[in-house]
Symmetry: C2
Subunit: 367 residues, 2 copies
């Protein structure tokens, strides 16, 4: 049977929430073929203390003992350099997530993307500890006037591109800080990441990387207009952007790797005429979704790098931190995307491409 | 009290459907401050016969005797030059609506926008009769490859701009045919209409005009992303496009006038996670919505031209065709947009800006 061994698979951008939704979603990490998940801290309130991040990890580990969880803090004024150092020494976190205020789900406690200087002591501590700064790279929308009174439009389509100068400045100011531009959606962002890495000679030198989701390899604006189930932030952009993302994913460049940004929302928060929640739920089938795209572009041989090698290396994941040593195997067997996933309490989450048939299935296998 | 007389007001792009929805919506034309409505023919099946257009008009007239209805055919292979001549002689239609296949609600019977030549005999008859060709000016979305194998992306954001060469060709081939580019949404379209009319010396010379909706004077992509109630086709575009539309509306140029494209959909077809119906319902308050924008841009003195003079002139509406000679007056009195409008059968339609307070009210007054 046609099979590919993907090694220890990583999803470096995962939202699993709390409570009933958490219990529903955490097991789908493994179902989707993922061994290791980097967990985002945008709970309500966000995770900014050692106590909470340790307890959150224990909760997740209890639900799914085989899954390896890397944890994160939410960048805010509650953090101190001392806390960063302490959390790093305890191996309690692998990174800190930066949300510009107001751009996505639970980002109200975020930072002003026009001025990161208040957080420079934090970044300095992170740089020293080798922690990763995960950035949601969008500027908040703004029409007509910028600070100097000139016309400058920022809207959902250019919000990421408008953020790129801030990314470059951060890298210049902290050249050894590991930074990830999360869930890239534009050709402009891909080009910037390539430009920043143009002198890289070895994977060990990569300091600025980007995660790519799987749904952005499928979607453009036409797919979410009128289909709230495909609405996420950053929004899927134009066909040239999608082509650039696919090209990056299959490029074999070590600074592009997988982060699903899978974000579960109850169906009732999707099927609304106003205030639809942003997020696409891909977790339960991430590897089959990815395999399908990689096969379409004759790049199945590049999938292991994208979902395993590059992410493990960038995060410097140690063998001893991995809970299960089983490799993820994809094999050619059709699988139908369920119309919905539910728990016994009646929470309904509709997965990406519900009802479609995918070409690859997934299993774990001891090496 | 502060008042403005807007004359005989026209909404030159109205969808009123059939059956219960028609009974609910037709009275809102007058409620919204409109005397004369140009009625679109995209019923199921579309209107392509004399018999149906006459009966449809009778139905509408029975519901709202004071409203003046201008009627239209749906451009399709069912039409013949003979039918066009006959319908014109009987004053049964004022124009013919052209829908590119597949771009909006009930457009499956539409035409191929890459080749109008099959309809040239129809256009010739329309030109001779002084009928108006109403065009939904969008190309269908298409990624990657065009007919010649080159990469050409057409998506929701550039679909209108990609149509503009076809508009120019039509005007060149039928320089005396009256054409309206309906519900313009882009700066590119506005610039094209201005360019086509650059040598116009008198309003009577205008052959190519554009209608502008009121919701596109308010919305950009950020407003419909996550808010299906604001989702329509063509989709609202970017801030520079919105500024160009407002500038055109208040310009006093006789080739820009009002057509609401108000499109009622039951709430259950808006609050969906997939397959949301495209259309914004503005009918019941079109004049108050418009007055608010015109006031914001210090252009209330231009509102009468936009909603009355220019449209009446382009369509060459005769005094004798107007059912009610009452003028529409706006006066400064706050009015709250209802959360929904309903009929006794339980059909719910949510109006644009539901729950907001508008600054201008509307009444009719004998002259």
């Amino acid at each position: 049977m046609e099979e590919y061994n993907l090694g220890i698979t990583c999803d470096m951008h995962v939202h699993v929430r709390e409570g009933a939704m958490c219990e529903l979603v955490v097991p789908t990490i493994k179902q989707g073929g993922i061994s290791l998940a980097y967990i985002m801290p945008n709970l309500q309130p966000p995770i900014t203390t050692l106590d909470r991040v340790i307890k959150y990890k224990e909760t997740l580990q209890a639900i799914s003992p085989d899954t390896t969880f890397l944890m994160s803090f939410y960048l805010s004024k509650d953090l101190t350099p001392e806390l960063i150092h302490k959390a790093a020494k305890l191996n309690a976190i692998s990174g800190v997530k930066c949300y510009p205020a107001g751009v996505t789900t639970n980002s109200a406690s975020g930072v002003d993307p026009n001025d990161f200087s208040a957080f420079y002591p934090i970044f300095k501590a992170m740089e020293a500890e080798g922690l990763v700064l995960n950035i949601h790279g969008e500027k908040p929308s703004m029409a007509n006037k910028n600070d100097t009174g000139e016309t400058e439009d920022i809207h959902l389509l250019n919000a990421e591109e408008k953020f790129l100068p801030a990314l470059k400045k951060l890298h210049n100011d902290f050249p050894k800080l590991k930074i990830i531009l999360e869930h890239c959606t534009t050709e402009a962002a891909i080009n910037t990441i390539i430009e920043i890495n143009k002198d890289i000679k070895d994977i060990s030198e990569v300091k600025v990387a980007a995660t790519l989701t799987v749904h952005h390899l499928y979607l453009t604006i036409d797919d979410w207009a009128g289909n709230p189930i495909n609405f996420c932030k950053p929004v899927a952009k134009l066909p040239n952007d999608k082509r650039a993302l696919i090209k990056a994913a299959i490029s074999g460049k070590p600074y592009f790797f997988f982060g699903s940004d899978s974000a579960p929302h109850p169906l009732m928060n999707k099927a609304r005429h106003v205030g639809v929640c942003a997020g696409v739920f891909t977790q339960s089938l991430v590897i089959p979704y990815l395999a399908q795209v990689f096969e379409e572009f004759n790049a199945l041989d590049k999938l292991k790098d994208f979902v395993s090698t590059f992410g493990l290396r960038f995060y410097n994941v140690k063998e001893t931190d991995i809970k299960s040593k089983k490799d993820t195997i994809i094999y050619r067997k059709e699988i139908k995307v369920p119309e919905e996933i539910t728990d016994e309490k009646g929470t309904i989450v509709v997965p990406f491409k519900a009802g479609d048939t995918l070409k690859w299935s997934v299993k774990f296998q001891s090496t």
